[in-house]
């Protein structure tokens, strides 16, 4: 008889492993596209840079890049804490501080992309 044995845990390991790779590939593609755009233009100056960030599709792509970066950074940071910070208190504190920092980064990104003084103005 075949037994399906549920071991333990929330089974987020594989999802996280995959998400780490997918976000890495998304970020690499964004960087390569940005590099290609800059080379194609023969360098960057203010007016081109400004026009680029005024483009709606580029804003969304940049937001996706940052969202991928935040998630990727969270997975990496958590992995480091799991390996080197064993006591629950300090680990939880580090995790909470990291999450707060990363969400703040994402908020800053939104402000730059769609805020009054940012690219939208």
């Amino acid at each position: 008889m075949v037994m399906r044995r549920q071991t333990v845990g929330a089974h987020y390991g594989l999802t996280d492993w995959l998400a780490q790779r997918v976000t890495a590939i998304v970020m690499t593609l964004y960087v390569l596209v940005l590099l290609a755009v800059a080379l194609w233009n023969g360098g960057l100056d203010y007016s081109f840079w400004r026009a680029l960030f005024g483009n709606g599709a580029f804003k969304v792509a940049t937001f996706l890049f940052m969202a991928a970066l935040i998630y990727h950074a969270w997975l990496g940071a958590r992995e480091i804490y799991m390996d080197y910070v064993k006591p629950v208190g300090p680990r939880l504190t580090l995790q909470v501080v990291t999450i707060a920092l990363l969400i703040a980064y994402l908020g800053w990104t939104i402000q730059i992309l769609w805020g009054h003084t940012g690219a939208a103005a």
Binding site: A24, I25, A73, G76, A77, Y105, G118
Partner: protein
Amino acid sequence: MATAERRPPAPRPVYLDLFRIRKPLPSIVSIVHRVTGAILLLIGIPVLLWGVERSLASSDAYAALRATLAHPLWKLVLLGLAWAFLHHLCAGIRHLFLDVHIGIELAPARRSSVIVFVVSLALTLIVAAKLW
């Protein structure tokens, strides 16, 4: 009849004292991957966001940012961050190959570790040439 009795596995030692375990080249790539990731999280992202924000604020702010970043100390910071990013990227690409079981034997794994260091340093040199 088979019994369902299972003995719990004996506790096995986990030994992660980074300053005492022997570190062959692939493990150095691995730890540098972690360190560069932490550097990028704590310094790289805020510097990036600050720079992009300033560069988009106005043409005066853009010129002021360029002047600020032209300082030799800032150039060193940017170069350091560029190396951290490039090493993290190259080590990450190596990881993707290992994930699909390419280069997991000892000799290829060592060779690809060397490649990660060489390629990321070479690309950092290109960035340095661009900065100076």
